[in-house]
Point group: C2
Chain length 240, copies 2
DNA sequence: CAGAGACTGGAACGGCGTTCCAGAGATGTC
DNA sequence: GACATCTCTGGAACGCCGTTCCAGTCTCTG
């Protein structure tokens, strides 16, 4: 091991998988989902597209790695429950789940491309992380073993649904339209729908205009949490 | 109106928006999400790519129209509650919601590309249809007005989350791998995870292997329904 | 029957993910 | 020191995509 040369700076910086992932995240954050291109990435790293393929198998893996990096950071920062099973900073398992879910929610809010990615990924590492942490809190909630899988899946799927939708909305107004303006436009469109075909949607149009995404997300989450803690089998178990 | 010539067959068939959408659906169903190409579509319709653009503004609109066609069909077939507010064929609003959600679930199961599309679309017509019908049933459930928006959104987001995930899984094994084999492989992978990092996921690996997607979907849905009907505000309304 | 509009379809443009490959730089061997 | 080797680079090229362009056809109207 003595033969290893370790000059502090070789040429500039040796192009590693981590540097590529970081550059990809920066590109996605600043210029949007569509901006992640091997050519753009190569230019940002002052190299050619071919060099990137030495460290990364393709675009799918790169996107997955970028998503995983952000989710993993969220997981250790916001929840502070990586080591032990129960939430360390939260008083109740419910609060721990809310904190965890809000962490994912805020991560998607800050990096909308994550929402798209999570919704389209197969059961890869980023999703597994969230699922695992959700499951632990559900265990401490005292949910019976057979229902744990259902509860964790339901929470995860809800989070993914909201995340995907938020990502789609973020893609919608991008830069030139503020969120308020976007909501207002949509609400007005809802209010002007055909009264015969869309009575309900017309009714709640003003609620769409005034709502807060985070509050609404938490309210929906609490609906599921109530369902989980109330009782496990509300329906008759008749098979189809 | 008498001057209109109506020869039974003009040349072959006059290439209409509807014919294009139908061909697109057929292409997506038989060859998968990635197969929808303006060139492939043109070949199937025995024309050139340029001709399609006369009837359709672009790929996004085409995908949206295809999704809307399938969702609209599901809506009038499976639920039979297009005209009146309450479910016509269902005894309770809960059952009506289950039937509606299962309709969307089965539609995504039959056409996985819909799951991807719904998860990435902005608040377009297909989503609005589902939202509207969900909302009507929630109204008949007796949910107080301010909570109706939350309840309908939560249900919709859950459905979208499951749909997106199912679509991703379907993309995963495509053809050569059966669903059972795919589940088995994933379950084994879960069981072999690091016991320190993923204790919960390891625990439920066998439940993943044996579960039924539809049953699991309904169980999660019932969790939310229980939450909706139990009581509306389980948490203190302290603002952050 | 001539002109106008609706509609067609093939060619072409720019950009993408990915592959290929000649070669540079450091490392290991006599 | 010379040479072979392995890691890593980056520019060129391939094939496919969404989309645009446009010369041309087909049908109806005046």
């Amino acid at each position: 091991m003595a033969t290893r040369t370790r000059r502090p700076e070789r040429r500039e910086e040796p192009l590693s998988r981590q540097r590529i992932v970081e550059a990809a995240i920066a590109l996605l954050d600043t210029a949007g989902e569509g901006a992640l291109t091997f050519r753009a990435l190569a230019e940002r790293l002052a190299t050619g597209p071919g060099a990137i393929y030495w460290h990364v198998t393709g675009k799918d893996e790169l996107l997955n790695a970028a998503t995983d990096a952000v989710i993993a950071a969220t997981m250790t920062t916001d929840t502070a429950s990586t080591a032990d099973t129960a939430g360390t900073g939260a008083a109740t398992p419910q609060e721990a789940i809310r904190a965890l879910a809000l962490g994912v929610f805020d991560a998607i809010d800050a990096h909308p491309w994550i929402g798209t990615q999570l919704a389209r990924a197969p059961s890869q590492s980023p999703l597994l992380r969230v699922f695992e942490h959700l499951g632990r809190h559900i265990q401490t909630l005292g949910v019976p073993r057979p229902a744990q899988f259902t509860a964790a899946s339901a929470l995860l799927n809800y989070i993914l649904g909201v995340g995907g939708q938020n990502a789609a909305n973020a893609r919608g107004h991008h830069q030139h339209t503020s969120r308020t303006e976007f909501l207002s436009t949509t609400a007005t469109a809802w209010a002007n729908l055909d009264p015969d075909e869309y009575p309900f949607t017309r009714n709640v149009a003003d609620q769409l205009r005034d709502h807060d995404d985070r509050t609404e997300f938490l309210a929906g989450l609490d609906l599921i949490l109530t369902g989980i803690t109330t009782h496990q089998n509300p329906t008759d178990p008749t098979p189809p």
